[in-house]
């Protein structure tokens, strides 16, 4: 704080260093700015903007890496839309996004509400619940999942006790996707932490006032908590659904490297990987990638549009 006090007292002999006016000062600031962010500018041009243009071009070509790309117009897109495996991959991905995202967020919110209460050991719980979000992406956990959900393993046997017999989730095309959903839900810690931070910001006076007015816990949740955390809810919905669209590793590892059985876990990126890197159909894969970009952009746009209806932003937030 002493620094603040001293600031106006300029040491004698030094040029006043407030040349915000002066074209040279402004030019120097511009130069400094661009120099500091030169890594990002290089990265953006070389690894983001350039590749985007390239992949847009590839999307309209037939390209196998070994011979130069050949322009084919919309062929990739028309073949793609008629390709039954592509259709299957869209179906699998949508099913995954629509089932996994809400369940994961519901659990995250539920546990966040639990942890928002002041109790002994809440820090430990919070840390433990967050851990799967970090290790869940690893191949190790993929193996563990495979072992837990395979035929005659723990999950299978446990449900037999209750009279279901599905012959293991991993080998069953009707169930295998839900083992991936379970893996995604298990990683509820990251959105939970964000919910918790949001819950902390809700002014306690609101609850006290509502209680005085005789509002029960359900009313208070519905009329105070939910609107107050709606920006955080929006952020989580956006982030988690975008992530869910791009799931790859777990599908590849858990349900053997062919994303099966019977293409039951052929998520979009798994098919993209097969087309691009197994079959060297770079043009087709690029067309798939751009279709994904458009789909994600549409979902983002719809979410942003819908937030007017349900996301409550505090006026004059500091």
């Amino acid at each position: 704080m002493t620094l603040v006090k001293e600031a106006p007292v300029r040491p004698a002999g030094k040029r006043p260093a407030a040349p915000a006016a002066g074209r040279r000062g402004r030019r120097r600031e511009n130069l400094a700015g661009y120099l500091f962010m030169s890594p990002w500018i290089a990265g953006f041009l070389l690894l983001t903007a350039g590749p985007m243009i390239a992949s847009l071009y590839y999307a309209f070509t037939s390209y196998n890496l070994f011979t130069p790309p050949r322009w084919v117009g919309l062929d990739n897109f028309t073949t793609m839309f008629q390709d039954p495996r592509w259709q299957k991959s869209v179906e699998v991905t949508l099913k995954y996004v629509v089932v996994a995202t809400p369940l994961k967020l519901l659990l995250a919110l539920g546990v966040a509400l639990l942890l928002a209460q002041k109790r002994r050991g809440q820090g430990l719980y919070r840390a433990a619940f967050y851990m799967p979000s970090l290790i869940g992406a690893s191949v190790s956990v993929g193996f563990v999942w495979r072992a837990l959900f395979s035929d005659d393993a723990v999950v299978d046997r446990t449900q037999k006790i209750f009279g279901f017999d599905v012959g293991g989730w991993i080998g069953n095309p009707d169930y295998v996707l839900y083992s991936l959903v379970a893996l995604s839900i298990w990683q509820f810690g990251a959105p939970m932490v964000i919910f918790l931070a949001g819950l902390k910001q809700v002014p306690q006076e609101l609850y006290e006032a509502a209680e005085v007015d005789g509002a029960g816990p359900l009313r208070r949740f519905w009329n105070i908590t939910l609107p107050m955390i709606s920006p955080v809810l929006f952020f989580n919905v956006l982030l988690e659904s975008i992530h869910a669209f791009q799931v790859f590793g777990s599908a590849y590892v858990v349900s053997d490297t062919r994303c099966g059985p019977a293409d039951a876990t052929l998520v979009y990126t798994c098919y993209l990987y097969q087309k691009g890197f197994k079959e060297a159909q770079m043009g087709f894969a690029s067309a798939m990638a751009w279709t994904l970009v458009i789909a994600v952009a549409l979902v983002t746009a719809v979410l942003f549009w819908s937030q007017k209806k349900w996301v409550h932003y505090e006026e004059a937030a500091k």
């Binding site: 603040v4 001293e6 600031e29 511009n30 400094a32 700015g33 500091f36 890594p39 990002w40 990265g43 953006f44 070389l46 690894l47 983001t48 590749p51 985007m52 390239a54 992949s55 890496l65 546990v111 639990l114 050991g121 840390a127 433990a128 619940f129 851990m131 799967p132 970090l134 290790i135 690893s138 191949v139 190790s140 956990v141 193996f143 563990v144 072992a147 005659d152 393993a153 723990v154 446990t158 298990w186 932490v193 918790l196 931070a197 949001g198 952020f235 989580n236 982030l239 975008i242 791009q246 590892v253 490297t257 990126t269 993209l272 691009g276 890197f277 770079m282 990638a289 751009w290 983002t300």
Partner: protein, 291 residues
């Protein structure tokens, strides 16, 4: 008076205690589900291979060491330590790259007023939402043409060029929160931007830098798609690919060692997490809130 309030007090206390018990029961139930796979893998790594799938016990009845000692043989002639060394190199380079390049970029966005700043910031945020699969194929073509596949360069180049917008964003948010008086004072004392960045802003941004560093380390350690696409000699494989190789070579016959190696592969991540969980969780929470 006392006779009227004491039963009420009594029930309030009782209700609080019941609430507390219910809370702990709920939290423990979630904890059991969350920790089950972790404890299972710990137990399974000490079970004989044939018991791993077949046995319902969480912990082994007779613990064996064979799964771990089997790891010493390596996988088709490659020692396990080679995979770990490769992953470590990848992770360390990634951390160095992200911390250096993202903090420079973040400083520019947070502390320098230059023309076009807002436009570039919007572009940077935009890349956050871009599915990276659209860049996957052209980047692969680029690195292939540069003859850099089968090296770590394609995996870490982006980290040195601040392409991980999430970390830039995290650092910008943090640096914007630093008192403006500090860098104004430094400026009056004749410090240039480089000096201000290095001796004032960087040390004060330590929490944001540590958060980014740990996330980067863990992401690099867990990364699967990157190595899968770019690395093709087994000697250069990271732990993720080593694990996949293990599965392909040994299959179900050597389930025990596969599970043991899965556990060993998780150790660095879990150790990092336990040491720095406070930073990680808070970093996660702040970046979410200000989004």
């Amino acid at each position: 008076m006392t006779s009227a309030t004491s039963p009420a007090l009594h029930t309030a206390n009782e209700r609080r205690r019941v609430g507390s018990i219910a809370w702990h029961v709920g939290a423990l139930a979630v904890l059991a589900v969350v920790l089950y796979p972790v404890i299972w893998v710990l137990g399974a790594s000490f079970k004989p291979s044939k018991d791993i799938i077949a046995s319902l016990d969480l912990l082994p009845t007779k613990p064996v060491w064979a799964n771990f000692s089997g790891l010493a043989d390596g996988i088709s002639g490659i020692s396990i330590s080679s995979f770990f060394w490769n992953s470590l190199m990848y992770a360390v380079l990634a951390v160095a790259g992200v911390v250096l390049s993202s903090s420079l970029t973040a400083y520019a966005f947070a502390k320098i007023r230059f023309a076009g700043r807002n436009l570039l910031f919007t572009l940077m945020i935009g890349t956050l939402l871009l599915p990276y699969h659209v860049l996957l194929i052209p980047q692969y073509v680029l690195f292939r043409n540069l003859e850099l596949t089968d090296t770590l360069v394609p995996l870490v180049a982006g980290k040195f060029l601040a392409t991980e917008a999430f970390f830039v964003f995290l650092m910008v948010q943090f640096m914007r929160g630093l008192p403006r008086e500090l860098d104004e004072a430094a400026k009056l004392d004749g410090c240039g931007h480089l000096r201000t960045y290095w001796s004032i802003v960087l040390p004060l941004s330590r929490p944001a830098l540590i958060t980014s560093a740990i996330f980067t380390f863990i992401n690099a350690w867990n990364d699967f798609m990157g190595p899968l696409i770019y690395l093709n000699t087994p000697e250069k494989y990271t732990v993720s690919l080593g694990l996949m190789m293990f599965r392909d070579q040994e299959g179900i016959s050597n389930y025990g060692s596969m599970i043991a190696m899965s556990l060993v592969a998780l150790v660095p991540v879990i150790a990092f997490f336990m040491t720095f969980q406070r930073y990680l969780i808070d970093g996660m929470a702040t970046s979410g809130l200000k989004g």
